[in-house]
């Protein structure tokens, strides 16, 4: 491409990102705001691609736009439902709800604070050294020791394995926290994904997409050693496929108390921790892989992590298990448009 054109595209993406961010914050209807947020995520994907970070772009697309967007949409639908119910009960309740919304003064203060941080960041980024100091050459240089070719995977599962391990445990703890929100009577039951209001097109998608998605996830996982991809994007795609199937009403989740479910959740981090601990005996230290078995260990960890990430993300989207009654009660009165 011509450099001038490239620059123009970059500027356009940047301007649209700022515009969409403002749109999704300022626009009043919830649905419009969420759509703005989802499109913002998709554009951010493009921005990451332009910055040469396809791994980040994939994760942004799957998590930032896909799962987070789905979560926001179902939250908006529930809010709408509870508002309708409250309106039916009486006029006193919405009054109290309005009192709880943030005051105008605090909104203004927040806006000023955000603007100040943004301005300071802009000034700081302009003052950063150019070219930026980077560890990328060092990472590339030592990559062969891990036996894999993708520097991003090398950082995630090799050089900074501890961060990845703890992040995966964070996911599990977050899920335990979400389950802790369940009512006492229902917390051992099966969580469920809100059924989609437009059931027919979703049913079609839920039958057509998962085979492609599963193959794509396996491909990403397999090629993650040498090309962009790896455990997290693969797990996120698998989770998105499962959410689709559940939203179409074509499947059900096991109860949270199910041993197999809990094993799937913990297997990835536990094996990661175990292999890491093994490194203290048979390799150079904690979180080092035994010589000659680097690729095998990494593959084992990545496959199990993919499963755990997929299950945990899916369950995070499904939320706490609820009373069976509310599943067919009035939860989603009409499409939010």
């Amino acid at each position: 491409m011509i450099p001038a054109l490239e620059r123009a595209v970059e500027l356009a993406i940047g301007a649209m990102l700022v515009g969409l961010a403002l749109w999704s914050v300022l626009v009043r209807p919830r649905f419009a705001s969420i759509v703005g947020f989802v499109v913002f995520g998709l554009l951010l994907m493009l921005a990451w691609m332009r910055l040469g970070a396809p791994d980040v772009a994939m994760t942004e697309g799957a998590i930032g736009s896909g799962l987070a967007g789905f979560l926001l949409l179902s939250a908006a639908a529930r809010l709408r439902c509870s508002e309708i119910r409250r309106a039916r009960i009486g006029a006193g309740e919405p009054q109290r709800a309005r009192d709880r919304s943030p005051r105008r003064s605090s909104i203004v203060a927040l806006g000023v604070g955000c603007a100040a941080v943004a301005a300071a960041l802009a000034a700081a980024v302009a003052a950063l050294p150019h070219p930026a100091p980077s560890l990328a050459p060092a990472a590339l240089e030592r990559l062969p020791e891990l036996g894999i070719g993708n520097p991003v995977s090398g950082v995630l599962i090799g050089f900074r394995a501890l961060d990845t391990l703890v992040e995966k445990i964070v996911l599990v703890v977050a899920l335990v926290g979400v389950w802790g929100l369940a009512a006492e009577a229902s917390w051992r039951r099966a969580p469920s994904v809100d059924p989609s209001p437009e059931i027919e097109p979703i049913r079609f998608l839920a039958r057509a997409l998962p085979p492609v998605g599963i193959v794509l996830a396996i491909y990403l996982l397999w090629r993650g050693a040498t090309e962009p991809g790896g455990a997290f994007p693969a797990g996120a795609i698998l989770a998105a496929m499962a959410v689709l199937v559940l939203a179409a009403g074509l499947g059900r989740l096991p109860p949270t108390a199910a041993r197999s479910l809990r094993l799937a959740i913990c297997a990835g981090p536990l094996v990661f921790l175990g292999v890491g601990g093994l490194g203290m005996g048979v390799a150079r230290g904690f979180l080092d892989y035994p010589a000659g078995f680097e690729v095998l260990s990494i593959k084992l960890i990545e496959v199990l992590l993919t499963g755990s990430v997929a299950v945990v993300l899916l369950l995070l989207v499904a939320g706490p298990p609820e009373e069976a009654a509310s599943a067919n009660g009035m939860r989603r009165p009409e499409p939010p448009l």
């Binding site: 100091p133 703890v166 445990i169 335990v176 039951r189 108390a257 981090p269 921790l273 390799a283």
Partner: protein
């Protein structure tokens, strides 16, 4: 061992398994608690507790005896590419504190659960051997089995072989996972030497702390937890922006490496960007530490949380993010402009002391009073920051560091004791009102004493740990010429005395018409009155440690024990610029005559 002897003075790697265990074991216990059944889950955490206490003390002893930090290179990837865990005096001291308090809280929680089981009619003996299958007579009928999809696959998988217990099962199963996670996250925070690892550790800490707030599941508790979560996420984002700026300007995340890169004489670093990074990251962590004016989440979070969760939050969790701020300032505190920001932090600390204490004075609920007292005590953690970055006066910086650490540690013990004591007092009184505490002195003299002893430390009366902390902080603030800070410290002690006296007087009063006591008797006939020796002993023990810390700190002042425990790389990092620089013309620093 020979390697250890050879490397005195330089970081030793002989203790690497110790510090790996301190991080990995609680995380493994947390995962096991997710995987295992309820009683096995609590057993996994309770069994790992003594091991972790042993590891923490062993690591501390090793640092103390060799005088050098323990290092562990992860996966043989040294920084800048990889991560090094580094347990220095500061980190090991905090890990010992964490291990002691977390074990005490774990025991307390286990005792509470046993009593709860006993009150619901299950024999306490059977609750020990995972045979809680017989539902007590008081158990509500398990929810409708009429047609929920939940029962489809659950029976075979272990969900159904036992009827769902009465109320506390959800909270209990969640609590043990969270306790182990908080423990592991704190240990990692204390020994991480890398900005991003600190971020990850703080994320784990936050995601474990937020559900602790809403364990009770009541709407106010859920609201408080949501508020905590949103503020903490904003804090994480600010911290991450700061980290990105540091990496963008230096290309390093390892704290020791950063200290080298910005040492005086190296003029490649963009100092203005680093100052902004320091301010952003500190602000982010301040949200999680709940320093005024970012304290809004803390009091409501404690109001609805069970006592063991409050004790963890107030004693340990807020100290984790404070410790990150301390690490940041020991590394980056001397960038130009840092002094001004340090004084701003100290001013916020002073406001916190006065505002928090004054608000505590007005509370009608006991738990809220103790929570607002935490807001005030957090202020003390920041008043010494100007002295901490006084590069011209290393002894002053050391005083400030010792004072801050001692304040963090003695407040941790005192506040853990006070929240647990408050929990027991409220449990007995039947409601969380200070004026309902009448008669508590006669009914629960030991709990009353434990609360009072913890209070002595908050007031800063000798010989408590709080006294020595405040004494050192006074010296540090006077050393930088900040008389207004010194006066605030003294005023804070008086105010603490005032609000604690309110509680003690209420406890000493005769039970007014025994309204609360009646209700408690109705709710729990025999078990509530039954002797509660284990929990009483735990509370008293924690309070006594907060008192005993004063003596522990007194001896080393001459014999250099605590000084040595605290002395490690951060202070040598503080020392280094002084060797390079001629004494700069800072008027405050000149006032301190270094003995």
């Amino acid at each position: 061992m020979s390697a250890l002897a050879a490397s005195v003075g330089t970081p030793s790697t002989a203790g690497a398994p110790l510090i790996v265990g301190l991080v990995a074991l609680p995380m493994a216990a947390a995962l096991a608690a997710v995987l295992l059944r309820r009683r096995a889950a609590s057993a996994a955490v309770l069994l790992s507790a003594p091991i972790l206490v042993g590891l923490a003390f062993a690591a501390a002893a090793m640092v103390l005896s060799t005088g050098s930090p323990i290092e562990c290179v992860l996966g043989a990837w040294k920084p800048p590419l990889g991560i090094v865990l580094r347990a220095d005096g500061l980190g090991t001291a905090m890990m010992v504190v964490t291990a002691t308090i977390a074990s005490a809280v774990a025991l307390f929680a286990a005792a509470t659960e046993r009593r709860g089981a006993a009150m619901r009619g299950t024999a306490p003996g059977s609750s020990l051997n995972d045979a809680g299958a017989t539902p007590g007579p008081a158990d509500p009928p398990p929810g409708d089995h009429s047609g929920g999809p939940a029962e489809a696959g659950g029976e075979a998988d272990g969900g159904g072989e036992r009827q769902p217990d009465a109320a506390p099962e959800r909270a209990s199963a969640t609590f043990w996972v969270l306790l182990a996670s908080v423990w592991g996250a704190l240990n990692l925070t204390f020994i991480a030497n890398d900005l991003f690892t600190l971020f990850v550790a703080l994320e784990l800490l936050t995601f474990a702390a937020v559900p602790l707030v809403c364990l009770a599941g009541t709407p106010p508790a859920l609201r408080a937890a949501l508020r905590y979560l949103l503020l903490a996420m904003a804090g994480s984002m600010l911290y991450l922006l700061g980290v990105a700026l540091v990496y963008g300007s230096l290309g390093a995340l390892d704290l020791s490496l950063i200290a080298e890169l910005i040492a005086p004489g190296t003029d490649s670093a963009p100092r203005g960007v680093l100052l902004l990074a320091l301010v952003l990251a500190t602000t982010g962590m301040l949200v999680k530490t709940a320093l005024v004016p970012l304290h809004a989440w803390l009091p409501p979070a404690h109001a609805g949380a069970p006592p063991q969760a409050s004790a963890l939050l107030s004693a340990l969790v807020v100290k984790g993010s404070w410790f990150v701020i301390l690490r940041l300032w020991l590394t980056l505190g001397e960038v130009p402009g840092g002094r001004t920001v340090a004084f701003a932090l100290a001013a916020l600390g002073a406001v916190a002391i006065l505002f928090g204490s004054a608000t505590a004075l007005r509370q009608r609920s006991l738990k809220l009073l103790v929570a607002w007292s935490t807001v005030a005590q957090i202020g003390y953690l920041f008043v010494a920051f100007p002295a901490l970055v006084a590069a011209a006066a290393p002894t002053l910086a050391t005083e400030a560091l010792r004072g801050g650490m001692l304040q963090a540690i003695s407040h941790a013990f005192a506040k853990a004791a006070m929240f647990l004591a408050a929990g027991l007092l409220v449990e007995r009184a039947g409601r969380d009102r200070i004026d309902a505490l009448g008669g508590a002195f006669r009914r629960m003299p030991i709990i009353f004493a434990a609360f009072a002893i913890g209070g002595l430390s908050l007031m800063g009366l000798p010989p408590s740990g709080g006294f020595w902390a405040k004494w050192l902080l006074l010296q540090a603030t006077i050393g930088v010429g900040a008389w207004w800070l010194a006066l605030t410290i003294l005023a804070g002690g008086v105010l603490a005395g005032a609000y604690l006296l309110r509680v003690l007087r209420a406890c000493g009063a005769e039970a007014p018409a025994d309204l609360g006591a009646d209700r408690a008797v109705v709710a729990a006939p025999a078990a509530a009155i039954a002797p509660d020796r284990l929990r009483t002993a735990i509370v008293l023990g924690l309070a006594l440690v907060s008192m005993f810390l004063g003596f522990a700190a007194m001896v080393p002042a001459e014999r250099c024990g605590v000084r040595r425990l605290l002395r490690s790389e951060p202070i040598t990092q503080l020392d280094r610029p002084i060797e390079v620089l001629p004494p700069p013309s800072t008027p405050h620093g000149a006032a301190e005559a270094a003995p």
